[in-house]
Structures are given as structure tokens and as C-alpha cells.
């Protein structure tokens, strides 16, 4: 474990630095995936989501003293992730292009309103992934793991990016259908 200290903006806090860090990291580790997904649904793009989640982590740490113990850390973190992601998209839209504020607010409504359904979809997706062959699962892991992007995979397999995308899209489609089919049948 790193011996480095996180920057402490609140030296008078009742909890000492080490305890605060440990508690923060424990909380962050449990909600990291959720926060990432919350950011991703707004920015859409994985590269941007990687940038946003770093900023989210910083904001969460800097605001950690505002978090009330006993309340829902997941909800609090996801809410911050939504806001950081929305600001990111607004800035990006000024430079380039992006979805409108109206579209973003609608996306957020759907995501918040259907939180339970999305959790259910996530559970079903895990079962659907488990049905894939080992080869397909490994392929999927490589595609969705940061250090094994589609382009890097194409290079290592000495094939074209299009070929990798074609296989990936077939898997995405199958998984999407599997989730919908399972939910229609009642899970």
C-alpha cells in the first residue's frame, strides 16, 4: 500500500487523517463501479468517462467531510458523478459537440428513476456473461479492460479493427438480447 497521504483540506476534523483516508477508500471502493457507470451514462464515451471519474474521485475526497455518516454514500457519490459529468459535457460541447442539456437531464431522470431496474439488469447481465464461452468472456474482458483496447487487440491479433468490432458488436447484441429476454421471462 502506498505511504502517500491524500491532501487534507480539513485538518480540524475529529477523525485523524489515516482513519479518514481508510474510511474514504473503503467507501470509494464499494461505489467506484456505480460512480463510473453514472458518469458514463452522461458522457457516453469511455475515454471521457475515464477522465471524469478521476475528477469525481477528487471531488468526493474534497467534499468527504460534507458526507453525513449513516446516509447513503452510493447515492451521494453517484449524484456528484452525475454533476461532474454534466459539467464535463457542457465544457466539451463549447469546444466541440455534445448532447443538449435537455437530453442530459432526460437521461439523468431515466437513470435515477429506474435505479432498481438498472441494478436488476446488472445482475441479469452477469448471468448472461456467465453463459458465454470462456473464449468470448476473455475477449470481452480484453475489450472492456483499459489496457486492452479494441485497437490494441487488433494489433496483437494481427487483424483489422473492423474484424474485432464485428465480433464485439455480435457479443454486445447477444448480451443485450439475453438481458431483455431474461427480464421478459421474469428474471
Amino acid at each position: 500500500m502506498s505511504s502517500r497521504s491524500l491532501p487534507n483540506e480539513y485538518p480540524d476534523s475529529a477523525m485523524n487523517d489515516s482513519e479518514r483516508q481508510q474510511q474514504f477508500l473503503r467507501n470509494l471502493a464499494t461505489v467506484y463501479g456505480e460512480a463510473y457507470a453514472s458518469a458514463l451514462v452522461i458522457v457516453g464515451n469511455r475515454t471521457d468517462a475515464d477522465d471524469v471519474i478521476q475528477e469525481v474521485c477528487v471531488v468526493l475526497w474534497l467534499k468527504f467531510d460534507e458526507f453525513e455518516p449513516g446516509t447513503n454514500f452510493r447515492k451521494w457519490a453517484c449524484s456528484i458523478a452525475f454533476n461532474v459529468a454534466k459539467n464535463f459535457v457542457r465544457k466539451k460541447r463549447r469546444r466541440n459537440f455534445g448532447l443538449s442539456d435537455y437530453a442530459l437531464s432526460r437521461i439523468e431522470q431515466i437513470r435515477r428513476g429506474g435505479a432498481e431496474l438498472f441494478e436488476l439488469r446488472q445482475e441479469v447481465l452477469e448471468k448472461c456473461v456467465a453463459k458465454l464461452s470462456e473464449t468470448d468472456r476473455q475477449f470481452l474482458d480484453e475489450c472492456y479492460n483499459e489496457s486492452h483496447s479494441v485497437a490494441a487487440m487488433a494489433r496483437s491479433r494481427r487483424t483489422s479493427v473492423n474484424t474485432v468490432y464485428a465480433r464485439l458488436n455480435r457479443l454486445r447484441r447477444w448480451l443485450s438480447d439475453c438481458v431483455s429476454r431474461t427480464l421478459e421471462k421474469g428474471g
Binding site: L6, L25, A37, V58, F97, L99, N145, E146, V150, R155
Partner: protein, 442 residues
């Protein structure tokens, strides 16, 4: 399988394009319209992006790539970036205020400054995918802008360096001599006058002392440095961003460094990392027009087997071929005699348009050495395949590969470093191939 309404399918396709970072402005507009006018489309979009998020989450969990240490690294890296950005914003605001006070009226009439030119895109592979929209040949890159290439390869030409970015890579210029690598792989060929060129990653700095080297960075693997020739100076950052250890790295050596693990460790040099980049452009300095390189060499060049819609493909064949005896080739400019001991690099231009090709391609390619001969006849191509062609590539004996001199044009520049081509696309067999032999640049 349940039937999917076409609109839902379209939204899912567009959501995938957003996630993969390959959506263009027009498609994004179409997505905006669909998700703001139809609740089912909106639901489908959120579900699809959610699917990607869940797959990433599961992948992270399965691959054990995410632990508390990594989280700390991410927080710290982001903190440093934000602080650095805040400082830059303050300095920039101060500078702007002074300039505005002094020359306010004059400045108001000027277009917005975009920052000085750092480099120019000089080579693109046909499969390059960049963020939002494609890079363009000749595109000027400026400081304080993140550049992202998702796939393929882009080459940036600077006054004293040639830099290849291998997708997926994200980088930005801090100044003319410094690049911040945020993820991916940069291959650098530093030329005379470029000594001191520096690459910065979250783990350290890599300063050049006249060389050809490669730097790679990912948040999970840390920073890797490999030197093919010459020497670089590598500094490991400590937790406060100060350099805590220095190592000089010489040719055919590699090391890995991680500031979070306080690690700087020599590892095995992998020549293949450089070969895969050399296989894309060899010693090509720049291309223009509709000529493109490619990251994966073709398997066959028989007619109709490797189509090139609206572009001409160029790829390096054998490099540094030392002639063991005198050789005469039948070039487009007449016979050329090479004495034994001559060292040549070979390149092949291949053009095989399909039925959807809409324009006859034209463009130029500039090499780092002088062009020795250009071969365009079927006989001279076939005879030279064995000597200069790639061993695993099927060239074929077909006559149709030769240039039709009534409609194809090939010109060598006065300094003999640039070849310009124009290939016509008429006729039943439009396949054209040209082999270019280039003297090795000493």
C-alpha cells in the same frame, strides 16, 4: 429472439458509436432527436450505455485491476492535473489582463489566438480512428489540446522529430519540446537539433539525448520506456511530483517505472514493439493527398483481393537490403544500375478500386532518402518481388498490376525525395502497383 423496432436498433448502434468515441456530429444530432422525442429510444440509450458501464465494472472486478492503491493513484493523478490546470488558468488570466490593458482595442479586431503550431499530421493509417472526428493530413496540432487516437496510427512531424501515436493514445503538447502522455504509446524519432525533447507521464519524465525510443503509459501498468538507438534520461517522480531517481537508458534497453510503487526496474527490450511501427511507415517522412498507410500488412495483393476505395495504399517492403552483386532494374525513368553493396529500402504502392470508388486518387509520399528507381511494369515488378517484397505476401504474377501509362501518372520531385502519383480508375482492371526503391539515408 425478440424483434427490435428499427429506431431502437438505430439508437443502440449510435450509443455504441458514442461509447467507442467514433460518432460524428451528424449522427449525434440524429441521436439527440431520437432520445428527446421518443421515450422508448431514451430508455434504449440509457440501457445500452448502462450495459457498457456494467461490462466495464465486471471486467474490472474479474481482472482485479482495481484496488485501493489504484484508486489512490487515480485521485492523486487527477489532483495534480487539476492543480496544474488551476495554476495555468491563473497565469493565463493574469497574462491576458495585462495584454488586454495594453492593446485592448487592437486585440479586439484580431481573430482568437489558437496557440503556436506544435506539429503537423504527416501520416495516417487507413484504419485510424480518432475522437469525434478523424485527423486530417496536414492538420496543425497546437498546445493545451488533448489529442486522442482510438485506433490505427497517426504520425506528427515536428521541426526536429517525428512522433508516431499508436491508437489508443491520448497526449497533449505542453510546448514545442514537451509532450504529456496521458495513455497509450508514443514512438519518437528525434533528429538533429531535437535533443532535450521530453515526454512526461504521471510516473516520470523521459528526456531525449538524440535517439529513437518509445514511451507507453497506462494507469494499470505504469510507464514503460524502450530505447532502440541513442540514449534517454529517465526520471522517476516521487509522490510529490519531484524527481527522486534518475537513470540513463542506452540502446536496446527498456525499463518500467511506477511512482506509486516507487519502482524503476530494467526489463527485457522487445524489438517487436519497434518493428510493428516500422512496418507501418518504414522511413516515410510524410504522405499527402489520398495516400494512406496501414497497421496490418495485407495478406494478398491479387486483383480484387485487397480493395482500396478512394485511396492508394503504401507500405514498406524489405528495408536495408544490401545488394550482394551488381543489379539492373527496368524503371519508369529507364534502366538503373546499382553496384554491389548498395543499400535500398523498398515500398509498394497498391491501388485496387472497388465499384464504389468515386474519385481517382492522387497524392504524394516523401521519403527520408533519395528515390533510386520507380518500377511500374509487370515484368520489372515480378522480377523484383523476390528481392524486395515481403516474404509472406502474395503478389501474384498478373499483368494487370502494371501501370497504364496513358492514364496513370508518376513523378519524382527534383530533389528525388518525393513521389507524386495519379492513378486512373477506368477500364475493367484498374489494379495498379508501383515499387519504389529508396537509397538508405546515411
Amino acid at each position: 429472439m425478440s424483434a427490435r423496432p428499427p429506431q431502437i436498433e438505430e439508437v443502440q448502434r449510435l450509443a455504441d458509436a458514442v461509447f467507442d468515441g467514433v460518432i460524428d456530429a451528424k449522427s449525434l444530432q440524429s441521436l439527440e432527436e431520437l432520445i428527446t422525442s421518443d421515450l422508448a429510444c431514451l430508455q434504449a440509450y440509457v440501457e445500452r450505455i448502462g450495459l457498457h458501464g456494467d461490462l466495464i465494472k465486471q471486467s474490472i472486478e474479474r481482472c482485479s485491476g482495481h484496488d485501493a492503491l489504484l484508486t489512490i493513484d487515480r485521485v492523486l493523478a487527477a489532483q495534480e492535473r487539476i492543480e496544474s490546470r488551476q495554476h495555468r488558468i491563473v497565469y493565463f488570466a493574469l497574462a491576458c489582463s495585462i495584454v488586454i490593458l495594453v492593446t485592448a482595442g487592437w486585440l479586439m479586431s484580431l481573430p482568437r489566438a489558437k496557440g503556436p503550431e506544435m506539429g503537423v499530421i504527416s501520416n495516417l493509417t487507413v484504419d485510424q480512428i480518432s475522437e469525434s472526428s478523424s485527423f486530417l493530413l496536414g492538420q496543425v496540432l497546437r498546445p493545451k489540446t488533448d489529442y486522442v487516437i482510438q485506433g490505427g496510427m497517426a504520425t506528427v512531424k515536428l521541426p526536429h522529430a517525428i512522433i508516431d501515436a499508436v491508437g489508443p493514445t491520448k497526449w497533449r503538447f505542453l510546448d514545442k519540446q514537451t509532450i504529456e502522455l496521458k495513455r497509450g504509446i508514443l514512438h519518437l524519432d528525434i533528429q538533429e537539433g531535437g535533443t532535450g525533447f521530453t515526454i512526461i507521464t504521471p510516473d516520470g519524465i523521459v528526456e531525449d539525448y538524440g535517439t529513437r525510443f518509445l514511451v507507453e503509459y497506462s494507469s494499470s501498468e505504469g510507464t514503460g520506456v524502450s530505447v532502440q538507438s541513442g540514449r534517454v534520461h529517465v526520471g522517476l517522480k516521487d509522490f510529490d511530483g519531484n524527481i527522486s531517481r534518475n537513470i540513463d537508458l542506452t540502446m536496446r534497453r527498456a525499463l518500467r517505472l511506477s511512482s506509486s510503487k516507487k519502482l524503476i526496474q530494467e526489463v527485457g527490450f522487445i524489438e517487436e514493439k519497434f518493428r510493428s511501427i516500422e512496418a507501418v511507415r518504414g522511413n516515410i517522412v510524410s504522405i499527402d493527398g489520398t495516400i494512406r498507410t496501414m497497421t496490418v500488412p495485407p495478406q494478398t495483393l491479387l486483383v480484387n483481393q485487397h480493395k482500396t476505395r478512394n485511396h492508394v495504399l503504401i507500405f514498406p517492403e524489405l528495408q536495408n537490403v544490401i545488394l550482394t552483386e551488381d543489379m539492373v532494374v527496368d524503371g519508369l525513368e529507364g534502366n538503373v544500375r546499382f553496384p554491389a553493396g548498395t543499400v535500398l529500402n523498398s515500398y509498394l504502392l497498391h491501388y485496387d478500386p472497388d465499384e464504389l470508388t468515386t474519385q481517382a486518387p492522387r497524392g504524394g509520399v516523401t521519403f527520408d532518402g533519395k528515390i533510386a528507381a520507380v518500377l511500374g511494369g509487370a515484368d520489372s515488378l515480378s522480377k523484383s518481388d523476390k528481392k524486395f517484397g515481403l516474404p509472406d505476401l502474395q503478389y501474384g504474377p498478373q499483368v494487370s498490376r502494371e501501370l497504364e501509362l496513358d492514364e496513370d501518372e508518376v513523378q519524382v520531385s527534383e530533389d528525388r525525395r518525393t513521389l507524386s502519383v495519379y492513378f486512373g480508375a477506368s477500364g475493367a482492371e484498374a489494379l495498379d502497383q508501383v515499387r519504389v526503391l529508396v537509397y538508405r539515408n546515411q
